[in-house]
Structures are given as C-alpha cells and as structure tokens.
C-alpha cells in the first residue's frame, strides 16, 4: 500500500475507531488523545511493516492501550486512588455503527470558537495530525495543540453526552457543523500560497467530510446544497489563478479548464437538493454556482436567474455580502447605475463602509459605467483595505489598466 493510500485509510478509520472508543469508555477528551497517538504510531509502523490484516482493530487496540496507560498514570497521580475502569483491551472487532455524525456534532460544539471547532473537527473526524493541521493553518504546532486541548476541556465542562441532539437543537447544531465545514473549505482557498506538497489540501478535506455527512443524511437539502456548492466552486480551481498565482475573475476564466466531472456531480446534487420542502442558504448558493457552471461563456450567463436567487437569499439570510453580490448581478441585468444604487444602501452599514469587497465592487461598477477616475480611486482603496496579497495584486492591476487606457 502506498503512503498516500495508508493516509487515506487512516483518515477514514479515525472517526470510526474514536466513536467506538468513546461509546465504550466515555471520556471523549482522553479517547481523542489516545486515537491521535495510535494514528501517529500507524503512520510510522504501517509503511515500514505493512498494513495489518485488520487495520481498524489494530488502531482500536493500540488506542485502548494508550487510554489505559493514560488512566493509570492519572490515577497514580491521584495517590493511586482506585479507578473504576475496565482495564481490558478492545476486542478485534469494532461494532459497525457509524459515529461520524455524533463526533462532528461534538467537535462543532456551540461553546467553542470557530477556530477551535475547525481544528478539533480536522483532528477527531478528519484524522489529521496536529502537525498537519498546524501547517495547513500556518500556525506553530504548540499553538494548535493548545487550541485543541482547550476545546476538549470546554466540551468536557459543558457536560456533553455522546449522542445526536434531538429536534430543533439538532437542526441548530447541524447548521454549526455545516458552517465549520464551509470554513474549512474556504480556508483551503484563502490559505493556499504556492505549491507546498507537505500541506494538506483543506478544500479537498472539507469535501471529503461533507460527503460523509451527506452519506449519513442523504435527504437533508442543506447538506446536499453545501456539498454541491463545494464541488461547483472546486471545479473552477484550476482556472481561478494563473501559474504565477494571480487571480482570474470568473468572467475571464478559461472555462475549458473547469472540471467537468465535478460540475456534473455538483449540478446533479444541486438539482436534487432543491426537491425538498425546505430551502436554505447553501441550496441557494449552490443554485447560483450551478447557473454559472452551465453558462458556456461569461456572456451566456443567466443573470436574471442569478439575481432572482440572490433576492431570495437576501430575504432568508440577510447579509451585506449577499446584497453586494446581488448588486453585481443587477448591474449585469439592468446596467451599472442600478447596481451602484444598491451599493449606496450598504454605505450606511458600518461593517461594510470601508470593506474592501464593497470598494472593489464599486470600482468594478464605476468602470462599467465609464467613470475611470472613480473606478481608479476605488480600486486603489480596495487594494489598501484587503489582507490578501493575491487580491491586492489583482486590484492594483485593474487600477493600472485604467490609467494606461486614459489619455493624459
């Protein structure tokens, strides 16, 4: 088995083994450490000695031993206080229940910050090592380890049981889970600087985790919608940057470089997600991404449909970023002045007034309207306001182009 096949196998087995251990022994925080140690041991031993015949049983046994050692040393510290803990090793066969969802709900516990939720999810459910996650987020391993350990202490303090929440709470908690998966996916784009083969691809990892949730909840429209949104966004990955890492806006992308397989799967999912009684923000965003995906070129885009979808999205999940996107769609549909009028309403919003996205959209619409000076100024201000180097280079290049095309 190749090293990458072993890694895939470990990532698949991690939540299964962890779920089985927590079911058996309780103490999520201790089990999670023990499974992480077992995974680390496997990454060293398996490539050298070969993958054991029953890899899941191997991991469960090693993790159980680590857990027992851990409990023994804990109790030794507590003056050898008697522990009611069955010091038995896990049987070879781990029960076949899939606890992935239960684990995800636990890792995305609402008392945690988003940064902790993402880190813990990637480790406990994604089966990544602390070092891999730290590299992916460009923080020191010690920083990330502290974050994970604090997150587990908070979960422990909250007294969470290892069960799926019921009813309305379940719906609410699922929203948090989906948001965390979405954040991991986005991080895969924003944090990607250069080709670093050692770095885990967070976008691919988020898709893999969302696929697992979709397999567990196949009829949930928002889960399908999120997966569709990820696949359709990911299909444009090769086309959205140049070889030197510069951004290529959607209307200038070479659509031949879009991934047809991902598009086909994403379209199918987006369509099926709309079949249910509920309509949520991920389904709508997937529908918007699908509308872009079926356009043969930028001029063929169905802006009427996109604008209508943004209108619904704005109604069910009001958010200045959605309004911003609707302004772009409206400008394509009715002309730049209509779009600029929508932007004027956002100036009153303090969070938005100096936001680089508002400035860059205004620059774009002013450019469409033929106001080169206004567009130039807004591109420059947007370039100053962004924290992304790639975006800054793109905005500066737009500003430069305007100056170049202007007679002095």
């Amino acid at each position: 088995m190749t090293a990458s096949a072993i890694e895939d196998l470990l990532r698949e087995l991690t939540p299964q083994v962890l779920g089985a251990l927590v079911r058996r022994y309780g103490r999520f925080e201790g089990c999670e450490d023990a499974v992480q140690e077992a995974v680390l041991a496997a990454t060293v031993q398996w490539p050298a000695d070969g993958v054991p015949a029953n890899p899941r049983g191997w991991l469960a046994t090693v993790a159980s031993r680590r857990l027992i050692d851990q409990v023994r040393s804990d109790s030794a510290r507590r003056d050898r206080e008697e522990q009611v803990f069955a010091a038995e090793v896990m049987p070879e066969e781990v029960p076949d229940t899939d606890d992935t969802l239960v684990l995800l709900f636990l890792c995305c516990h609402p008392t945690l910050t988003a940064a902790s939720q993402t880190a813990l999810t990637l480790r406990a459910v994604g089966g990544l090592t602390t070092a891999e996650i730290a590299r992916a987020f460009l923080v020191p391993e010690a920083t990330l380890a502290a974050r994970i350990s604090r997150a587990k202490q908070r979960i422990k303090a909250a007294g969470s049981s290892f069960e799926l929440p019921e009813g309305a709470e379940r719906e609410e908690r699922l929203q948090v889970v989906l948001h965390v998966l979405y954040l991991i996916f986005n991080e895969g784009y924003t944090a990607s600087s250069g080709e670093d083969l050692d770095r885990v691809d967070l976008a691919t990892e988020a898709i893999r985790l969302t696929r697992m949730v979709h397999a567990q909840l196949p009829t949930d429209g928002e889960v399908a919608g999120l997966l569709a949104l990820m696949l359709l966004t990911h299909s444009r990955r090769e086309a959205r940057t140049t070889a030197s890492g510069d951004l290529v806006p959607l209307d200038e992308q070479d659509r031949a470089r879009w991934d047809d397989d991902l598009i086909a799967e994403g379209l199918e999912l987006a369509k099926s997600s709309l079949g249910g009684p509920e309509l949520g923000p991920y389904q709508l965003q997937a529908a918007i991404a699908a509308t872009h995906a079926v356009a043969t070129d930028a001029t063929d885009t169905d802006w009427k449909q996109i604008h209508a979808l943004y209108l619904i999205l704005e109604r069910i999940a009001p958010n200045p970023m959605v309004t911003l996107n609707r302004a772009v769609a409206l400008a394509e549909l009715e002309g730049p002045e209509a779009g600029l009028a929508v932007l004027a309403a956002l100036d009153a919003d303090e969070r938005m007034a100096k936001h680089h996205r508002l400035l860059s959209v205004r620059a774009h619409l002013l450019e469409m309207a033929g106001d080169a000076d206004g567009a130039y100024e807004n591109y420059r201000n947007a370039a100053k306001a962004t924290a992304s180097m790639a975006e800054q280079r793109y905005l500066e290049s737009r500003a430069k182009k305007l100056r170049a095309s202007q007679p002095d």
Binding site: R135, P140, A142
Partner: protein, 123 residues
C-alpha cells in the same frame, strides 16, 4: 486571522515609573503570555533592546554606512510585539486592551493584521 500587536514605548515614560509599576508591567505581560498560550492564540512575542542600542544601515555610494541610534528621532519607539492568531479583529482588540502598556499614559499599543508570512512556524 493573524495580527501583530506592537507596543510603542517612550523611554522617558518608562523611566518615570516606580519599581513597583515596572514590576507590575512585567508581571502583567507574563500573565498575558500565559493566557494567550492557554487559548492557543500565541504564535510569537519578542521584546527589543533600548532604542539607544539601535544601528541604522544605509547604502551610500554602493557602500554600507552604519550609524548609531534609532532611525527616527521620536519620543516613541517600537519596544516589542506579539504575533497572534485569533478568530477576528474584535478578539485582537480585546487582547490588546489586556496588555499592561495600554493602561499607561504615553505608551501605545497598535493592532494590525498580517498580510504575508513565511519562515519557521512549527516552533
């Protein structure tokens, strides 16, 4: 999101503090660092030597020229910084307010987001 919280010190203001006040600042930073570590938010912190120990390097006629003293003749100098990784800007501002320097007249704490990083982050 990564931020640098830089501490701008005024040597005259620091000199005028009592020993107790100076000790309280040191202690405050110690607690602050521990808190950042516990939260998994600290990447790195560094404190710099007195600005009088600074050297300025310039290339003149293709030759490096080194002069003593800080680059800018000012009352305030960069005294040190924290590099942190936090949820959002609001959290960075909340943390900056916990730095002892922020409570002292004449000293300033500045928060700016990081735009590019490279180097050894796996401490």
């Amino acid at each position: 999101m990564k931020f640098v919280i830089s501490m701008h010190i005024n040597p005259a203001v620091i000199d005028a503090l009592t020993d107790e006040e100076k000790a309280a600042i040191g202690e405050g930073h110690g607690k602050f660092i521990q808190n950042l570590k516990d939260h998994g938010e600290l990447i790195l912190t560094q404190a710099l030597v007195d600005p009088s120990q600074a050297s300025v390097v310039r290339i003149r006629n293709s030759q490096p020229v080194v002069t003593d003293g800080p680059f800018l003749e000012a009352k305030e100098y960069l005294g040190g910084f924290y590099l942190i990784d936090v949820e959002d800007k609001a959290r960075a501002l909340e943390l900056a307010a916990q730095i002892p320097d922020a409570a002292i007249d004449g000293l300033g704490v500045e928060v700016r987001q990081v735009m590019f990083s490279d180097g050894q982050l796996e401490a």
